[in-house]
Symmetry: none
Subunit: 197 residues, 4 copies
């Protein structure tokens, strides 16, 4: 009986990280159209061929990058989530988490917007992404039952409670929105006014 102990040359995490950042950066700067595999590789400081060790193809690279960002956004949104708090407070917390995250990583966010509005979005299993929002949906459901929130489709509630942030935080759509405490608080109040009964 022979025992082999080998420390194999493993996939380099730094390379993967560099690849992720290069992808986001380039797609934001020059768009999907111009972001070639060669350019992304160069930006990441690796060979184009190396990308194909980490990802099946270009599409896979882009989709994985998207899902990765979305997962982080979801996680951030649910930080300090306490289901025992009043519904307004729970939503307020999620709202501010989301806003803070988006403004902290504006380029990650910008990437997802470009991605979501491209045909690439069809390649993502939407359930993979949506499942992270379930706790919020449950809160809204409770709100409706307790007659605190308007009894309408969740889609409509989200459209007023969360999508305006996306608009406001998107420099492409809204380049002169002043991000200060007062404005953000006002915005949340408006979101709440929209959905509350």
């Amino acid at each position: 009986m022979i025992i082999y102990i080998r420390t194999m040359r493993t996939k380099d995490e730094f390379k993967q990280e560099a690849l992720f950042k290069a992808t986001v950066k380039l797609v934001n700067e020059i768009g999907f159209v111009s972001s070639s595999v060669a350019k992304i590789a160069k930006e990441a400081g690796i060979s184009p061929a190396t990308i194909y060790i980490y990802y099946k193809n270009k599409e896979d690279l882009l989709v994985c990058t998207y899902v990765n960002i979305k997962r982080n956004l979801s996680k951030a949104m649910l930080e300090n989530f306490h289901s025992s708090l009043p519904i307004r407070d729970i939503l307020r917390n999620a709202w501010f988490n989301m806003f803070r995250h988006i403004t902290k990583y504006p380029d990650y966010f910008q990437f997802t917007e470009q991605f979501a509005n491209s045909p690439y979005s069809a390649l993502v299993n939407s359930l993979d992404v949506d499942k992270y929002f379930e706790p919020i949906i449950n809160v809204l459901q409770r709100g409706i039952e307790q007659k605190i929130i308007k009894p309408v489709d969740f889609d409509i509630l989200f459209a007023f409670a969360f999508y305006p942030i996306i608009t406001l935080a998107n420099p492409r759509l809204c380049d002169n929105f002043e991000v200060n405490e007062k404005n953000i608080e006002t915005a949340f109040t408006m979101a709440w006014d929209a959905i509350k009964l």
Copy 2:
């Protein structure tokens, strides 16, 4: 040597129209990335070379297509605009106009969303597009002065009054929103609740 016999001179406008439709169709179906000049030309039933008679280059074609759609949307939104009506009624009319137009021409709308979220958007003089919305801004301004509408940035007001429609009408973002009179009326009520004082 080929001999063409045509009973009527083909109007150039037909070609331009066909080109417009082909551009929108193709970009929606396969995205900016895959929409080559050759494919667009084929879809429009003309030669790639002909495109360069109507437009300076590919970029020009895309930008013009975008501005054209935006202009039509603006026009539609302001139909039956009567500044003498109550502010809520004016906005409600604009809201419904917009919703109706978007759902009537979903592919035009989809094109603009993809365009606006791509670096191409930087090529559009935003004033060219924004000027059409001036009447609405004036109404909001009046509403603030009359203490009917919350005294916040116009960006924020738009984010709650109009962007939710865009979300709800976008099948890529919201594929199970049921478009019926009740839902749309509800949505407008929420928009109004958000912005009213």
Copy 3:
């Protein structure tokens, strides 16, 4: 009514010819494996992109080149075909036609051999090529009926009547066969001895 008379810029026959020759030459010299589109284009003195105007893809280029050569070979073989002559004379004529053609265009022939023994051959509709040999098959059939030729499968008859030429003319298989009148006449006699009753 308008009449257009146009002399369109047409596909250049010289280019196509050059492409044909370059393909054969290169494939013979360096093989299918190394014969890249870029190299073939360079040999033909055109841009790689131009190839795709004349052919759908590389495969198409190779298959068309093959079929083209085969057609010419078939035509050559049937020259001075007179069905009224004695069967031996008909076959002798075809035999010599074939031999002469193969030795006159050894590189075309070499190409077909390499092609026929590669998986590309599966892409050719064999009926397209075989139909040219029908007159010969008819002659063999008549020979069998008249008890001049052995009553065996046509495949076997061909294997002895014609394939040995291919071997003898193939420099890769048979580099020291002396091509002189006596040898060729002898070879035909052997072919005839093999198939005759």
Copy 4:
């Protein structure tokens, strides 16, 4: 860190054998053009890098595979070779040996055909392969001296005595030849008729 526990040291011969089979299989299925080192390695269940332990490079792998097959074919052909038998019997035995071997290992045979018709063949020292056929050549020589066989070049004799088998056994050239005792016996008779005086 990976820990392998193996009860027995894997024999290298297994790898080499697997590599041989994978090479033949893949080259037959997808051709030289598409048979990359990576694919062959995968088919053989080893790492691409491992191939370079057994062979100098890809070319070496292919040439060795070819020579290996050829050696086996030669050996098979000379089985039960008894120089004391009548010349016809000796050739008949070799003929049947060859036919049996080719039909038993059609894929090995197919590989050699593809190889021999490619520029790779130039890399093989033809003497290495030809030397195995020497006993047959001696027999033919004796036949000529005894006025049993036509006094022509050995190349011509081989072209009629042995190459037709290759044609008949090659499914790419001859896909509807029925392999039965009668047909094969007939074919040998024709070969003998061709070369005998």
